[in-house]
Structure formats: C-alpha cells, structure tokens
Symmetry: none
Subunit: 225 residues, 2 copies
Amino acid sequence: MTRVLVVDDEPQLLRALRINLRARDFAVEVAADGTAALRLAGDFHPDLVVLDLGLPDLDGVDVIQGLRGWTNVPIIVLSGRAGSRDKVEALEAGADDYVTKPFNMDELVARIRAVTRRAGPEESVRVVTVGAWSVDLADKTATGADGGTLRLTPTEWHLLELLLRNPGKLISQRQLLTAVWGPSYVKETHYLRQYMAQLRRKLEADPARPRHLLTEPGMGYRFQP
Amino acid sequence: MTRVLVVDDEPQLLRALRINLRARDFAVEVAADGTAALRLAGDFHPDLVVLDLGLPDLDGVDVIQGLRGWTNVPIIVLSGRAGSRDKVEALEAGADDYVTKPFNMDELVARIRAVTRRAGPEESVRVVTVGAWSVDLADKTATGADGGTLRLTPTEWHLLELLLRNPGKLISQRQLLTAVWGPSYVKETHYLRQYMAQLRRKLEADPARPRHLLTEPGMGYRFQP
DNA sequence: AACGCGCGTCAGGGGCGCGTGAAGAAACGC
DNA sequence: GCGTTTCTTCACGCGCCCCTGACGCGCGTT
C-alpha cells in the first residue's frame, strides 16, 4: 500500500485529506508542523509527502531541503499563494509538484497517482560506475579497473552520494550545501568548489576536464553517467 | 464533456458563442452580468470561463477576483478595448488569456482548447518539446534531435521555465520580471527583450520568426507548444 | 512628415563565479 | 604529546554571465 505523509497545520484540511486518501487505499500519516514532519518522515518512511508551505514553525522550503538531504521521496507542495516565485523556489528546492489552494480533491489525487507512478518502479542504486571507478554506495567503497581501491573522506562521500543518486539531474548549490553542511552554509559556495575539485582529482581521468562531475555555472553540479 | 460558462451582456454574441461551442462538443452555460456569473460558477462548476470585461453591473476585474477567491478555473477574457492597461490588469488579477473583440471564432476555440488541455487532470510536465529541442525541466537539460545538448544560463532557465510550465498561456511582462529579477525590476522590459532574444537564438529554428516563444505586443510572452 | 513608443538586434565592459593551489585550524589515531 | 588526516580559510587569475547603451525597424499618433 502506498504510504503518504500529509503535513498541514489546518485540522479540518488534515482531516479531509486523511479521509479522502484512506478511502482511496493510501496509508496516511499526518503532521502539523515542520519539525514533526521531518521526524515522522524518518520513522514512517513514506512513499510520498504532501506538504503545506504555510507551516507555523519552519519555512516550507527548509522542510523540503531537510527531506532532500537524505531522501528523494516525491513531494507535492500545497500553497495558498499562487505566485510563480514561490512555486519556482519550491520546485528548485526539490519539490515534485505544486498545487495551489483551493484545490480540487480529485486533481490532488490524480497528481499523487501520477507522482507515485513515476517514482514507483525504481530500484535504489547501489553500485555506480564513474569513469574507470566502480562506486558502491552501500558499503562505501570505490574500486578501480585494476582492482585498486580509493579512499574518500566522509564529506566527500556525502557530496558524491547526493550526485550519484540523481544521475543526470542538476543538483543546485543550495541543495548540496544544506544537505552536506547544513542550512546555515548556503552561502559558502567555496566549500563546493573545494570538494568538487578533490572528487575530480580522485575520480576523473582528467580532473581539469571532467566528464562525469560537471559544473553548471551559476546553478549547481551534475553527475553524468 | 468540457463545461464552459460564457459571460457577456450582448445577446447576439452570447448566442453565437453558444451555438459555436455546442457544435464543438462543449457544454455551455451563459450569464448576462457579473452577479449571475459568480452565482452560476458556483452551481455549474465549469471547466472554463469566457468572460467579457464590459459588464453592466460589476467591473470585470472584480469578477475575476470573485472567482479566484475559491477556484482556479481557467478564465479567458474578452474585451472590446484593446488598451494594454486593461489587459495587464485582467491578467494580473488572474485571467489566463485575453482576446480582443472583434475576434475570430476559430482562434477563440483554439485558445479554449489550449487552456483546458493544460488545466486538465494531467500530471505535471517534466519534459517539454520546443521545436527540435527536448527540454527537461527537472534535470535542467535540453537535448536536440541529433543528441546534442544545449547550455542555458541560470537567468535563461528561470525565464524559460516560467513560460514552459504554462503552455499556451500568456504571461505578462510584469509577471516575468518580478519572478526572475524581482519586484523592483517591473520597468526593465529591456531585460525581457534581451533574454527572449537569446532563448530564441538557442531554441528556435528561425529566431527572427519564432514559432514557440511568441511576443504579445504590449502585454507579455507566450509559449506555444 | 516628424515624432514617440515598443520590440529586436548587436557590441562592449565590469564584476562575479569558478577552478586551483596552499596553508592554517581542528579532529583523530596511537 | 605527536603525527596524520580532515576540514576550513585565504589568495589569485581567468572566463563568462549579466547589464548597459546604441541603433534600426514597424506602427500609430500628431
């Protein structure tokens, strides 16, 4: 059964969503604020998160980034504001879809189905090949074609894992910094340059001309398989 | 069947629209003034509203806001006045498209189709085709028919994403400027011309004659799928 | 015709982001 | 306590992105 975590601070909306989703055969858990949402997400391991941006304690974008730091569970954002600025910010932070209130319940369910369908038949990757190296994300080892192994520091692993788990996808600097160093480090882009350089030195055949760990100027980085 | 509410105070235009839309398999309801329109919208729950701005009782913008208070049903505005001031006001209030009278019936139907197609219970778009290019908004990649990739700067992405996420819909200059550069840049329409030209150079087969990134003089820009 | 206005196009320059190297500060091992 | 590894900080040069100004064109107004 598909497990859904609903995060909203309005009791009646929470209740309406719970009833409607349970009637459609979803397992539903609810949270009323951002901190509870982040905690429950760790315990409940939902297949999908429905997140209201207007929470009492945390900013919605911070909740998204808090989740994106360790999981790429699909996130559907609810918001009372239709402003495209908010929408873009949420999507940039890692949301998968955006629904403005007031919304039609059938539409929301349709989007939930669409998002879970898309994320459904995925196997969580364990081994990724980066050039001549074979990286095992589960037991944290990297072995070369000649059988030699590579040593990576914890920070390097954290950064590399985020990129490798989203092959081909652009990960914004903000996302990387909040995930690896925390939300208060979003300005320290030089950390990224520093550690991306180290990863390239260790993994790329020609560190000056990376073929797999690519820079997207002004935006972020991307792992190209 | 798609349900359309037509709001206009001219009986002959009302009649013409009803006949034409019914012939094209729309379910049509009509209202002759703003109050009737707001009441009927609540009862009829249309999938689309065609709204004449020149109503006897209420100002057109007030009708739009009255609808937007509880629903985000697509609204296409009709107006006899070609003044850009009215257009922009209507679009800012939440209208989805704008047609000046006298209008071509086929054009109106085409816009109705475009707007309803977009708002249907479809999954949120990730990949959009623009001419020969395939643009992935999630991965931030653009690949051509020959497999080549395209590089876009952050500002170009921001602008393009806004247009591509609202296919067929007219986005006002004000909206684009506030979303990409911030609210204090609403006068800098020069930026738009600059970056729209760059996007056309990169995406359009014939940048001088754009087929997908269209200019609506005095109002804004539109992405035509 | 002259003028203003909006749009498209081109060229140039300043500033910022990126890559790189190096060194100090902190944490960890024994 | 000492050496090593890891994290953080600083400095420097280069390339490119963003902004700016200019001009031409079409269109409607005076």
